[in-house]
Symmetry: C2
């Protein structure tokens, strides 16, 4: 390593330490902090975020990047050194466009608006959230202008989560499989009586739910020496190191899915973070490369593994010993129950067939919000109208509608699309894993997950942020993101369940 | 407010946000963090601490202090403005002597040595902790040299926790009441059969312990909308705002005291933090003024209130409904049990009569360690020899001896003396409260604590760091710190219990 490269690494370590510190402050706010702490937390987040941003976008970083680029010239594209200089230069070019004061303002405003959202959702009171939301969206529009774009301001926000992806591309991918989803759902709905999920809607002891869900993700390979699990209103995964990865869950006393599949979902994110290459630890190459790739991991463990018949052939007998009320459920009916397709209000509990429609709705609304085409005061009506046209049902209240997601309160605009893209990638990656290791489904059916996890570690996790989502997908699968595999997966799976 | 004063306040707000952020990282490390997170946490703490220190000791702070001093000239000594400039100038003059690199190094080393201490204590393995301890003490000796002193290097470390207090003063205060303590303990020991604490050593359901202990401190006035309680190996209180105060407790399945009196103790600290003046929030005047004053609050609630017969005349009937196994305990015997005097190994569970001897031992050892008069490899032997000479017993292992306290692992050298000073102040302050409100004992006996809490809020808490410990004590009691009141309190209380 050259001298300037080393100086760059040291400088970036401080930046990353501040970013991880901000993540700790946010995790604490969402899982531990007493209500009174909100004001001070907003100020703490603003300071930490602003100082991290200032340190990163200072001229010295650019100079060190130039000098390090010279020192590492000729290094392999895949090498840690060349990758660090390349990826961080892109980060820098993006972040330097944002004034640190704006970054701090966004951190402060969103720390407070998060609390307002949580209360508004609890009280089903959109109006109480509106002023905070207006401020958040205005700041995002400002950020988009600073970041710049060639087509639509939303491109600038989307690119923060999925580097290089444009609004037009997402629209094209979404339009490329929406009608197929709608057709599939329509076909299923004709046979809807074939599946009942009543067995999942019973009283289940909360502690036992937690214990069993923790057991499943430990079996997947989530390492609780290097992570932990907590309760949060809106489940998420965050990490402060590959060795300190935090997942969160919510539990319902009379519905089993949030515990089981929520835990698997967040553990899928967590496995990605824990699998980030040890050599990348402490550098800005550590962690996940994009939100879509991240979501491909969470959805793979939640759905492709966790909602497979093979998995439950192994897990159901164990679940029955924990919950004797499931005694009568046979594998086929339980498998069908956890895969019941039915338009519903809450995205995170939506089935695999309707899920992407929830995303398309949000994506289109966000594009219009950032484009200034929606009066935010009318957001609940907009939501409900579009929801009806997409899913055929109208939320009975805003808590089940426009207030359900945490994202806007945190200023995460441009983020939703990555959930749907993640679904597509999850199947593309899994199909490749199957090609490499056809034994995986049989192993899952006997409670063995290490072949799959090792494959993910080697092909995806270890690279951290070295490659963009597009580069990684090309390397792993030999092709670009596409919806064919996902649609085919859905048609096969639900065709069998619903006799189509 | 003048322009420069306002600039100073804004700059200091960033410094304090970073200090509070470091406190959050430490709280998380001690209560939530998975073991794997230690390395990264050390790096995060080093960055946050170093940046906070750099920001604070920069020339700009000194210039703003000078300019703000000019702007606030003539302001009342007690005013927020004059106090801020005065107190922060003292902070600055102290902190500017320490290189930021040393501050960062201490933060990093202690984050790691804390983990090593926790493991060493668990495994009763002093040798495993020795290299880390050596590094911590070497850094403290360096810090003392940078800070400077006129008499003993220990003065420099002590002054960080108790501004203006010297090693010689502490020695004099300790020597002024040691023989009285020893005499009292000797007299008690002749009547030791009068008191049994067997009733406290029984199986007690952990959840119920927690619930009852939380109930008592809620009744004291600790506000859980502005605070929370967690489990920690070594209980402590920390705060990130007057509205976000965190206390921790440890519970034993077969001993009631740590839950009851540990919770009251930390809540006493917490009440001080929650009572810090609202107008001081977000400034460097917020929080407690010194560790001795802090300890006066925790010891007052734990001992003067929590171990009083009046309190238990109200609380015991309620405790009996939670724990029917206490049915047979009458007030007098229960009161005697919780006040049983007996030389024991663990400081935090020591009775009021022997407690200060535990401190004197540590103080003298620290003075020798910083003075380079102890080979740290011999620390266990040193501890045990001195322990025997002070308390007449020898710890059977190092976990019950030299490894019991968290402080050295965290680099908190110079801190212990404040515990004993806090005991003295607790009685001095309480006696003054009694003069102002003779009804307080009767109120406590009927479960009313607001007269006392309001008195503490008005006379001590609200001032935050405006006045030094010495100034505050003079203002509140009209005299300096002294041991007469404490000795008199002990003699009366234990004279009655032990029939002396």
């Amino acid at each position: 390593m050259g001298e300037k490269y080393e100086q760059l690494v040291n400088r970036l370590a401080d930046v990353q330490n501040l970013q991880h510190t901000a993540a700790i402050l946010e995790w604490d706010q969402q899982t531990q902090m007493p209500p009174g702490g909100a004001e001070a937390r907003a100020a703490q987040l603003a300071t930490v975020t602003r100082l991290g941003h200032e340190l990163f976008v200072a001229d010295e970083t650019a100079q060190l990047l130039d000098a390090a680029a010279a020192e590492t010239e000729g290094a392999d594209y895949d090498s840690n050194e060349a990758s660090l200089v390349r990826v961080v230069r892109q980060d820098y070019d993006e972040q330097v466009k944002l004034p640190s004061a704006l970054v701090a303002k966004i951190a402060q405003v969103t720390a407070l608006s998060h609390e307002k959202w949580a209360k508004a959702r609890e009280n089903n009171d959109f109006k109480a959230f509106l002023p905070a939301l207006q401020e958040v969206i205005d700041l995002q529009i400002q950020a988009a202008e600073y970041l710049g774009y060639s087509d639509h301001p939303y491109d600038a926000l989307l690119g923060q989560y999925e580097r290089g992806m444009t609004t037009a591309q997402v629209k094209s991918i979404f339009e490329g499989h929406r009608s197929q989803l709608v057709d599939l759902i329509a076909a299923i709905s004709k046979n809807r009586d074939r599946v009942s999920d009543a067995v999942l809607h019973q009283p289940f002891d909360l502690e036992k739910q937690k214990e069993f869900a923790l057991y499943t993700v430990k079996e997947f390979g989530f390492d609780f020496e290097r992570g932990r699990q907590d309760v949060a209103v809106h489940p998420f995964c965050t990490s402060f190191s590959r060795d300190d990865v935090r997942i969160t869950t919510r539990f319902y006393p009379d519905f089993l899915n949030p515990a089981l599949f929520g835990m698997m979902h967040e553990a899928g994110h967590g496995l990605y973070e824990q699998g980030s290459g040890a050599a990348l630890e402490g550098t800005m190459l550590s962690g996940g490369t994009s939100l879509a790739v991240h979501e491909s991991q969470s959805r793979m463990w939640e759905n492709i593994v966790g909602r497979s018949k093979g998995f439950w052939s192994w897990a159901l007998p164990q679940l029955k010993t924990v919950f004797p009320q499931l005694e009568g459920a046979d594998l086929d009916s339980f498998y069908a129950a956890i895969n019941k397709v039915e338009p519903s209000f809450i995205r995170v509990e939506a089935d695999e067939a309707t899920y992407n429609l929830h995303i398309m709705l949000r994506f289109e609304m966000e594009v219009d919000m950032i484009g200034g085409k929606i009066d935010l005061a009318r957001l609940p009506q907009e939501w409900n109208e579009r929801f009806e046209s997409y899913l055929g049902i109208v939320p009975p209240n805003d808590a089940l509608g426009v207030l359900q997601d945490v994202h806007w309160s945190l200023g995460l605009v441009g983020y939703f699309a990555t959930y749907a893209l993640g679904n597509l990638l999850s199947v593309q990656y899994y199909n490749q894993a199957l090609k490499d290791h056809p034994s995986i489904p049989d192993e899952i059916a006997s409670g063995k997950f290490d072949t799959l996890l090792t494959w993910l570690n080697q092909n995806i996790h270890q690279y951290g942020r070295k490659f963009t989502s597009a580069e990684l997908t090309q390397r792993v699968t030999g092709e670009a993101i596409q919806s064919n595999d996902y649609i085919q997966y859905l048609q096969q799976k639900f065709g069998a369940i619903y006799g189509l």
